[in-house]
Each structure stands twice: as structure tokens, then as C-alpha cells.
Amino acid sequence: MLTVKDLRVSVDEQPILNGLNLEVGEGEVHAIMGPNGSGKSSFAHVLAGREGYTVTGGEVRFDDQDLLDLSVEERARKGLFLALQYPVELPGVSNLVFLRESLNAIRAARGEPALDAATFMKVVRDKAGQVNMSPELLKRSVNAGFSGGEKKRNEILQLALLEPRLAILDETDSGLDIDALRVVADGVNVLRSPQRAFILVTHYQRLLDYVEPDYVHVLSGGRIVRSGDKSLALELERRGYGWIAGEAAA
């Protein structure tokens, strides 16, 4: 579904990714780990199309398309979703309006008609229930004044509602509290399906206590230097990142 070949990216002429390779198939859950500054979060944002990154080489194919050729919104409409580490606040914009506009934009791209108000409300209530989100949060402005956990839940609600084929979760921050971590993990477990792949970007393996990945990759110096299964994450937890960085440099 997603093929990343020799991806090279720089920011302000500073190389961030130096030949990254990754293959993600349908239904797979990949964890990308790595020390601070290894380029994990940048990789997630490059996939989503965030401005500020210059692709200097390599390619990224999503299904049969050149992903890098698409705008941010086109990627979203094709089924790519990025859950942000720090979800952005949109004061004055009702969460319901935001969710409806997003869903209808994506439905339109799939050739589906916009949902009428009553159907939308039913769908959104169901999904909110699925991710344990209080209906009160639907009426408030998007993320404005939400707690860290509520913001995460709102991201997971969007994921549930927009039904992407590839969901990327940027959880780079080591400071995520345990509740927020559980929200993310529960969301992934509920929404995991044979048609939907996940890329979990995380610093510590704590998240992986709750979500069992199919693959674990270690990113260092802008490249994936080691791949394995869940046991690799446990080894990282035990030994830290130092030994891998040393190995990669050797």
C-alpha cells in the first residue's frame, strides 16, 4: 500500500532523512522508534504533505500513485490520515462543523454524497461512543480548551469518522501522560482492521505495551537502521538507542 524508496528530505538545506526505505502492507501496524532528532516526526509530516520540507530524492508511492505529487488535502482524500502530536485549536469553529466539513470533503472525493444533518449526527454519535468521547466535546470549538487527553480522543474520533486506509500517529513526545497514551492505544486497537494500516511514531515503547505492532523499525540519522518484531522494541527499552546508533555508524 505504501512504498517509501530511498527518501531524502531536508529542511533549510539541512538533511533530515537520508535514504529512508519502508514498505507497509494492508492491515499492518508498523512502529517507528528512534532517538530524539532522528527524523521520526519529520517523516510523518512529509508523508502528510506538510510544507517546509524539501524532498531532495527518492520516491513515495501510495497505492499506485506518487504521493509526493499530491497536495495535503488530496492525500487526505485518498485515505491518508495524520494524527498530530499536538492537535491544533480552531477557536470559534464548532467541532461538529469541522467533523462534518471534513467528512463531506472526503466523501465527495470518494464520489459519495454529502450526509444530511440527521444522518451525520447519528454517525458522529456512534463513532464518538466507539472512542468513548463525551458528546459535550462535539459542541465545543475544535480542541479549544481541551485537555491533552481530550485532544487525543478528538484525533482518534476523526480517525474513526474519516476511515482512512493509512493512519499515521505522531506520538514522538516522551511526555505523553498515561491517560492520553491509553486513549491512543485503545483507539488503534478498536480501529485496527485488515483494510487499514497504521504507522505509529513513538519514542518509548510504552505505547507498544498497549498496541502490538507487526513490525518495529528504528530510525537513526534519517534512515531505518534496524527492523524487527515487537522484541526489538523490548530490546530498545532495555538497552536504549546508543548501541543501534553505534552499530549504524560502524
Partner: protein
């Protein structure tokens, strides 16, 4: 798409949609202003002597004044002698029955989305259509007359209802009020007159659609609305003009009078031609609007959505004279390209237990500059006056500007005043967030802006709230990154 840093690009204006010119023969006075011109306008309107005398007094007063310079706007000096002060479609001077209106005019208004044929009109909305200097049609007059409501061109009111006009004209905005109000009093050519008798709730929304068509012509309309005791009326005005390279002057005066327990809701959707990207052309909109809450418990509410004009200079105000009177001001002002707006309100608390609310939302994009200027004055006798002011600015891009000039004068210790102000910016991260959920950048900007303006839009009559929302999204379209 390249992943290069693009930021929030400057807003590119989608072409102004009402910029067409109607090809119609007009009866136009040559440019220039002197007593002769004032007399000629008065004669064209077949006005009584008292009206002409009032105009002449205003003209003499104006001649001694200089243009005010305190507003936060910049423009080349206006040559008042190069403007024509009267232009009218030559077919007929006054409002005709709809059957007699030039089909070209009906077509113009239809093209603007304002069908004047009553059977096609928006249900429940009566329209007075003002084209250049004259009212060309007024709909639903009969139906309104059955309720006792007078809704007609002000030139007609001067002839048909002189006692009302004499009593109220200039009683809220005197011809000495300010430079532009004096000019208007001297040369005003038409506008709308509304009278709602005691206890009557006006059965329809009333509206006036102002259109400037002729080149080198100023529009100086005058609107007078009188709500007798216990009456209610809701009035809406809309405005557009063709795209022309030279600036055109629009200096209107609006006077509202609310007696005991009367309620006037006055809404404006202003979309005059704003000029091009380089700041060529566009309307200079210098308007004096004031409501007098003369009666006890009277209530005047101003709602404005200002998206057009090269320069907007306008402060719809309330004089809260009656005890328990309520004044409200809800405003959205958008400036983009090279547009400049200096707008706000004055709330003058005179009566006891008077209350006022001010909600101002300024949006600046491109090189636009937006200033809120507001005065809240609590006079010594205004016991227990209350004011709440909320003044928010939204910036789009990094070359736009927002200014806030609040003036607060409190001369009674029982007053309660609240002033809140915020400035925010549509950030790259907000746009990225919305786009990563499938929204286009235009839709994202429009959603954020509409969220920002929500409190004001909910004050508009329902028929127009959607219209205003649409206008705002068209107006801001092009925030393409």
C-alpha cells in the same frame, strides 16, 4: 506538489461579481458643487421651500468645514468639484409603479439577485431599489400600507409626508454634525423613508438595495426610520457598484428614531467595489449612522457586514436617551487587497439603566488595514449604565494590520463597563490541520472566518445570514497555499 515553504499566501481576490455597468441613459448634473447645484437637485425633486432652505444652510455650513483627518485611513485628497452630485436614469425622476420601471433596471437588479417583481421576490422582504441618485422602485408598498407602515423613497416622503420629515429629518444627525453629514444634507438625492405607527410590528423585513452605476458620480442617500411607541421594524440594506478605475464617493446619512418600547433592527451588508489589487478604484464610503433611543425601554440594534469599499469610515451609533434603553452594535469588517476600514460605534448613555453591547470582528488579509474605533460615554445622569465591549481581530497573512482605538468616558460611578479584546492569526498550522482532514485551503479559511464571525451572523435576519456567509467566503476566496 512541492513541499517547499509556502506559508499562508496573500489572498488573491476573486473577481468582484457585481462589477458590471448598466448601459442606460442618465440625466446627470455636470461635476462641481455650488449653491446652484443644491438648488438644481432640490428643483428636480420638486421640493418645498423649507427643504431647499435646509439644504442651503447645510451647504453653507459645509463650505466652511475641512475634511476630518483623524481616521486611520490614507487616501489622495478628494476633489469635491470633480464629482457629479446627481445622476438618474432619465426615464422618470421618481419611483414609478413596477410596470413603468425601465426593463433594464429590473434586469440590473435581477442580475444582482434582487428581483423587484413582487411575485419573484424573497418572501417577506420588501425592497426599495436606489439606482445612482434616485429610488427606482419600491415593492410591497400596498401590503405595508395596510398595516399602516410607510415605506417609500425619501424624496416621495418629503412631498407626501412633509410633517413627519420636517419633525424628524436632521433631529438625530444635524447638518452640522460632521463634514460628510453636512455634505449629505446639502446634496442628498434619495434614500429610504420608513414610518411604523404606534404598536405596529412591521409585517415584513424592509430593505434597500443601493447601486452606484454612473461614473464620476457620488451617491448621497439619506435614510430615515421612525418607530413609534411599541412598534417593531427590521431593516436591511445592501450595496454594490461597478468596477471602475477611479474612486467614487459615497456619503450617506442614516437616522433612526425609536420612541417608548420601540425596537429597530438595522442590518447592513456592504459590498461596494473595493478597488483592485493595487488599490486603484473602489468606493470611498464615508457614512454617518446614528440611532436615537428617544423613548423609555427603546431598543436599537445595528448589525453590519462590511466586505467592500476601498475606504470605510463609519460608526453606527446609539444615543441611549430613554430610561432602560438598549443599544447594540454587531460588526464584521473585512479588508483585503489595499482596503482600509476605520469603523466602530458610539454608545452614549444618557438615561438611567441603559445598556449597550458592542461586538466587533475585524478581519484583515493581504495588505488590508482594519481599525476599530469605539466610544462608550456614560454621562453623569446615566445611573446604572452597563456596557460590554468585545473587540476581536483576525489577521490572515503577514502584511495585514489591525488597530483598536477604544475611548471610554465614565462620569457616573455606578456604571459597569467591560472591555475584552483579542487578536489572532490564521496560522499555517491551522490550515495544515484542516487540509490534512481533506478540506481545501479556501474552505478551511472560510470555516475559520465564519467561526470567528458567528456571534455577529446570528444577529442578521435569517434570510440574509446565509447570504453574508457566502459573501464572506467569496470575498476571502484565494487563500491558496
Amino acid at each position: 506538489m512541492s513541499a517547499e515553504k509556502q506559508g499562508v499566501k496573500e489572498l488573491i481576490r476573486r473577481e468582484y461579481q457585481q462589477g458590471f455597468v448598466t448601459d442606460i441613459q442618465t440625466d446627470t448634473l455636470p461635476p462641481g458643487l455650488d449653491e446652484g447645484v443644491v438648488r438644481a437637485i432640490s428643483a428636480k425633486k420638486q421640493e418645498p421651500d423649507w427643504m431647499l432652505d435646509w439644504r442651503l444652510a447645510a451647504f453653507r455650513h459645509w463650505s466652511e468645514q475641512t475634511e476630518p483627518e483623524w481616521a486611520s485611513v490614507h487616501h489622495a485628497p478628494i476633489d469635491y468639484q470633480s464629482i457629479s452630485y446627481y445622476a438618474a436614469p432619465s426615464a422618470r425622476p421618481g419611483p414609478a409603479s413596477l410596470d413603468e420601471v425601465d426593463p433594464k433596471l429590473l434586469e440590473t437588479y435581477a442580475k444582482l439577485g434582487i428581483p423587484l417583481e413582487e411575485q419573484k421576490a424573497l418572501a417577506g422582504v420588501a425592497v426599495d431599489a436606489v439606482f445612482d441618485s434616485v429610488s427606482v422602485a419600491t415593492t410591497f408598498k400596498k401590503k405595508l400600507a395596510e398595516a399602516g407602515v410607510i415605506f417609500c423613497a425619501i424624496s416621495e416622503a418629503v412631498r407626501e409626508h412633509p410633517e413627519l420629515v420636517k419633525q424628524y429629518l436632521g433631529s438625530v444627525v444635524s447638518y452640522r454634525d460632521n463634514f460628510f453629514a453636512s455634505l449629505n444634507a446639502a446634496v442628498f438625492s434619495d434614500g429610504t423613508f420608513v414610518y411604523v405607527p404606534k404598536g405596529v410590528r412591521c409585517p415584513m423585513e424592509l430593505s434597500t438595495y443601493f447601486r452606484i452605476n454612473s461614473a464620476n458620480t457620488g451617491q448621497f442617500e439619506r435614510t430615515l426610520i421612525i418607530a413609534e411607541e411599541g412598534s417593531h421594524v427590521s431593516y436591511l440594506e445592501g450595496c454594490t457598484a461597478p468596477m471602475r478605475d477611479e474612486n467614487q464617493l459615497h456619503a450617506a446619512v442614516v437616522e433612526l428614531v425609536a420612541l417608548d418600547d420601540a425596537r429597530i433592527k438595522y442590518s447592513t451588508v456592504q459590498n461596494w467595489y473595493p478597488g483592485d489589487e493595487q488599490g486603484r478604484g473602489g468606493i470611498y464610503n464615508f457614512v454617518t449612522k446614528r440611532g436615537d433611543c428617544r423613548g423609555a425601554r427603546s431598543h436599537i440594534s445595528w448589525t453590519q457586514v462590511e466586505t467592500g469599499s476601498a475606504i470605510t469610515w463609519k460608526y453606527p451609533s446609539c444615543i441611549l436617551r430613554g430610561d432602560g434603553a438598549v443599544g447594540e452594535f454587531y460588526s464584521v469588517a473585512v479588508t483585503k487587497g489595499r482596503q482600509q476600514a476605520d469603523t466602530g460605534t458610539k454608545m452614549i448613555h444618557i438615561g438611567r439603566n441603559t445598556r449597550s453591547t458592542i461586538v466587533s470582528k475585524g478581519i484583515s488579509a493581504g495588505h488590508g488595514s482594519n481599525a476599530y474605533r469605539g466610544l462608550v460615554r456614560i454621562t453623569p445622569k446615566a445611573e446604572n449604565a452597563r456596557n460590554h465591549t468585545q473587540c476581536d481581530s483576525l489577521l490572515i497573512g503577514d502584511r495585514s494590520a489591525a488597530h483598536t482605538f477604544p475611548y471610554i468616558e465614565v462620569r457616573n460611578p455606578s456604571a459597569k463597563m467591560e472591555h475584552e479584546a483579542t487578536t489572532s492569526k490564521i496560522g499555517d498550522d491551522q490550515l495544515f490541520y484542516c487540509r490534512s482532514r481533506g478540506l481545501s485551503e479556501e474552505d478551511a479559511v472560510s470555516m475559520i472566518v465564519n467561526g470567528f464571525c458567528k456571534e455577529v451572523f446570528k444577529e442578521l435576519p435569517m434570510e440574509f445570514a446565509a447570504e453574508a456567509q457566502k459573501l464572506l467566503s467569496v470575498s476571502l476566496e484565494g487563500a491558496v497555499g
